[in-house]
Point group: D2
Chain length 381, copies 4
């Protein structure tokens, strides 16, 4: 099945193997007349790129994006926007001996079961490097959102993600239910004013300085012990108007769940109070209305019945620890024999900071898709 | 945007408002020659139906399903299968005064923001009653899975869900990482042999008797206090072969996330060890291979890189407490004024037991869609 | 493959076998707030219905449509609109002996090759009776177009089809290139003022009285000789604004070609001057501009580069003669032996008049889909 | 609306403006393990390329294709196949003054109406140069068809198109109804043995030598008179098994109609006897069965009820004369004032020979999509 496209009104198709000639995306359905500069795409790609600091894989890819189509004189044409990132620094030799080896925690085995063959170089298309296309598409989606807000004279829609947890260390910001104007003061950071620059100011992209220090310790300890750590990325969307999303299968929660749980290494997604809501009573979880369609709390995380409520969207994505660790692991041969091996190559001890722009891209894409689709079925049609 | 269809190779389109003339679905893409009896659909609809016990809404709808097309002489034709459930017991009068009232925790407000108007009778299409169509589609999907296993002479693919948590009470079965043959003994119940009959034997559909007793207490307490409780449904798929699913956007995790996070009241989804994986190290989380493509543990919950591994699929869905509770709640008028009101009507104090067949239906549909799509791109094409 | 849906922003899914319990459609993506009465759907179904006059199959089905969902208080809700037509007068006995017989010119053989089995009663889903769902969907699409014109204060978009040819008799209206305001006078009829009532005034739905008389002779002669006749339906759309349609795969011509060449018995489609354009020079075929974006001629039939030009849309659909004729025909057994047989049952000697509302429905659906989709990518986004 | 993709099981997304940085396509859904060489793609691109002979536009683009992804060691991976053709010889200066001029017969005006802006260089994405992506996708589809035949040990599926008509000159091959084994002898050429090499042996790609000579005269005359000519491409598919295609909206005729009527300059499509069938009686048009599911004639052109019958597929596509001619034409300014202008640039006097590989590509793509989708719903599921 053709499964490399995402979206309905706005459709991103991504392509490319980790060590192939290039990766990229084609975004179709973008309206005409939207300002789009390659620099905006590049900025998010740079945040995703390996080698940004000492905790990350030392592959210096560069990941230079080119816009091949769909933009003329700085404005979109309404035609497909193709973005290409050609590969520069592929050391395929590192992986050659993996052609017959299935690493634990990797897709090597399942991919072979699915397709009968695979590109073993750098994990092929099962590599997290496939998110290059997702991030480029997300940057285009952000341009759509910016144009929408400008046209409608509303405040900008800002999508900010950060590292909320690494290993067992959790950042001490406000709980999702408190992420509402006027309730976010007095915490280690304020999700309603946080900027990407502030997030990027710390190597692990955690805006809680004390937590960050402990996260660093944990990552360095894991690294020294040739191990890896998982974590959680939290994302907040500010300025999202009420009324976005579809009510049945394509609820914002459903579409975001699709986009986020298809990210490499993602193991869970929750909205607002999330899993903790299971333990609550309705009288506590229900967010009372305040005058003017405001809310007294934000357990619902900005989505009611699949449609945005005007409160900040709040969601979490859990990522497992990176599977490739430089210590012996019990894998399998393609014949089903157990094979212990230490896999070398370039890998991060903790991938979660690099997941921040990827989560933002997924959220941006879902929202842009929703608003472009929503324009179809407004009540005043 | 047309958002009432789900699936790619197998597509379900659902329709119907809670108190409208009928609800139903059309399932397109079902292969020809598959045994399909209306009784199979009816059985799952009966499990979803309100009024099954004292903890549930006393609406006695009946929900009788008719197959209108696509089946001839007990076998599918390869043409669309339309299933219709006509409404019988709609007491619209109960809801008439809600036309101008937005209940907290409901989609009333967001729906109006989205569409400019809505059907206020019983929540219209925002009612959980829309899942009638999903459950019918899931039953058809199960027939597809049964036919697949029969044709391929493999063990049946069994999808079993149960209530894992109600309020703060958690059933004591094996952890997801232990849900593997040979590891599930010694617990309150065994997810690898559990049957739907066993699940249904307790009113709250929790197979851990001790936990069930405490859950009952909690539900009765909440009910007596005019309140409601949330919970978690866990689902296991047994007999799922390796190699199902797509590697990028349409990972099993992504498609399941889409289907499950679009269920009414769903607030989170996790696979295998899920959110707890964020706190782990790679050396712990990685599931070592055993001979013959078996695994020493199941942290990955049966999905690696979006594709099934042959280990049991394990996932959790968190549901918030039912929003409608028979006590005063602070809602809003359509003009934005706060309006406290006690909403009457028929509602469950805990919806989670009825979510069990709905989760099974969503999982069945995603798997049937995956296998029908997967036949396209096997390596031996 | 799920192939029973059509459209992108507006999606119609149809279902039903000729002699099954019911036929119908679900239309998803219709905006909220549009006036929709079942009578409008019924009116077009009545025009499609057999038994309207002596040239048509005497099946008195009635074809009573019910709207099951998506409409509340006379206005659409933005939710899926399900329309159901239950079967009343199915004489399955007439067809029972066809289970092992492949009729020439029918889909019996190819259907069995495709699906391995079929519903032989009345042709099952290969019967032209499947167009019930298409016509209902087309009527909904016309309501969308009416709402669009009303909201935009433009003239109504009128879709008028008629029988342009039966056998070798051709109606003498203006050539497509002349179907422009001010150029259609002096012909047997005027496509720019013709109404559906005028078209229906003649049994064969041909507005050229002289041609109609000769067509009647031809049909009666064919009927008396136990034979059938093909024909051509021409369709004109008036009031279609410029700028509708997509430029590449989803050109209006492509989408209309898809919708129209998927109609039962359709063998060809052409736009404007059509096949005759192949014999022309560019200097003749190019339609010169007049002031105010008007055109001196309409060889292009209202579509340039796949997008509407503001000139009337003009297209033709060729239908083959009805395959079932009450005389011996050389068919096949399912084992491949030649079998001569006279097939009885209820069939029209000339199906083309009943194709008129079906063509209108297909055109209406494509246009409504185009305008709902087009709102997404206007230059002012 | 995202309208730059085509297909369901196999999906081609194309991108690129005529004088932009590059054109190309991404093909998703191609099975793994299929032999695919860039040379095969290049071969068809070379046949589409301008500048092949004196009747064609003298743009020497080269059109060198690169496969960027989805192929490893000569075999497909089951991942998206991106094909890129970078632009080399773009003389944008030729077109600069067209930014405010709408040429008659072109999409300049309608494109502006649709999107509010456009890329005027070489027609932007409205240029027939967009078919580069279609041709590359078609070549990949041919690889799919070749793999299918090889795996099923059937004869190869051969798609052969040629120029059947230029201006008023028509090639004298057998009528569609005679394009059946044993009936094609005694004509100027035999569609059942014709090769692409034979088609390419004549500059105008017409295999009837006498007709070709007269076509050449007509083209040279038109060229000398600064004019252009239209024509018809006929396409035959040999070796197509019975049972391909879907029965309702996605009939082979519907999907082919979509693909072919979305080609630049296409004005009509017909199957088998096509428009001439409208003038026939059923007793003549019905193709009698012969033993073994063979047919006595091929009026149906290889498709019955939308599904292939095993007889050769026969279809015609009518193309209008090229709109750009080097003589004064009455266009419009963007303000609606008439503007007579002689547009210069590089254009063919007759585009039909270059349409031959484009038609083949469209047909190949529809067939590959059909067979990949059809594997889903075979009766033996």
């Amino acid at each position: 099945m053709a499964g490399n496209s995402f979206g309905k009104a706005l459709v991103a198709t991504t392509f490319g193997e980790s060590h192939g000639a290039a990766l990229g995306c084609v975004v179709d359905g973008c309206p005409a007349g939207i300002e789009l500069a390659v620099e905006h795409i590049q900025a998010q790609l740079d945040r995703r790129r390996p080698g940004q600091n000492r905790y990350q894989s030392q592959r210096h890819e560069g990941d230079r994006a080119r816009i091949l189509s769909g933009v003329y004189q700085g404005l979109t044409l309404g035609t497909p926007i193709a973005v290409l990132v050609e590969s520069a620094d592929a050391k395929s030799g590192d992986y050659k001996d993996l052609a017959d080896h299935y690493r634990p925690g990797h897709a090597d085995f399942t991919w072979d079961q699915r397709f009968g063959r695979r590109d073993p170089r750098g994990g092929g298309r099962a590599s997290a490097r496939e998110t290059v296309g997702r991030v480029a598409a997300g940057a285009i989606a952000e341009a759509v959102l910016a144009a929408w807000a400008k046209r409608n004279n509303t405040e900008p829609i800002q999508i900010i993600a950060w590292v909320q947890q690494v290993g067992e260390v959790v950042a001490q910001g406000p709980a999702p239910a408190q992420i509402l104007p006027g309730q976010t003061g007095g915490y280690a950071f304020d999700p309603l004013t946080l900027t990407r620059e502030q997030v990027d100011a710390s190597p692990l992209r955690c805006p809680d300085g004390q937590a960050h220090a402990r996260m660093q310790e944990q990552v360095e300890l894991a690294q020294s012990e040739r191990d890896s750590l998982g974590g959680v990325v939290r994302c907040v969307v500010r300025g999202l108007p009420a009324g976005w999303g579809e009510p049945v299968f394509d609820k914002l929660t459903g579409m975001l769940g699709h986009a986020l749980l298809s990210l490499p290494a993602a193991r869970g997604v929750q909205f607002g109070t999330g899993f903790a809501a299971a333990g609550m009573r309705g009288s506590v979880h229900n967010d009372a209305f305040l005058p003017g369609f405001h809310f007294a709390s934000n357990h619902h995380g900005g989505v009611l019945g699949g449609i945005s409520s005007g409160a900040p969207l709040v969601l979490d994505v859990a990522f497992k620890p990176v599977a490739t660790i430089p210590q012996p692991q019990q894998g399998s041969t393609s014949q089903g024999a157990v094979a212990e091996r230490t896999v070398t190559g370039r890998h991060d001890p903790c991938v979660v900071p690099r997941a921040v722009p990827i989560v933002e891209a997924a959220v941006a894409f879902v929202l842009a898709d929703a608003v472009l689709g929503a324009s179809l079925v407004k009540g005043d049609a």
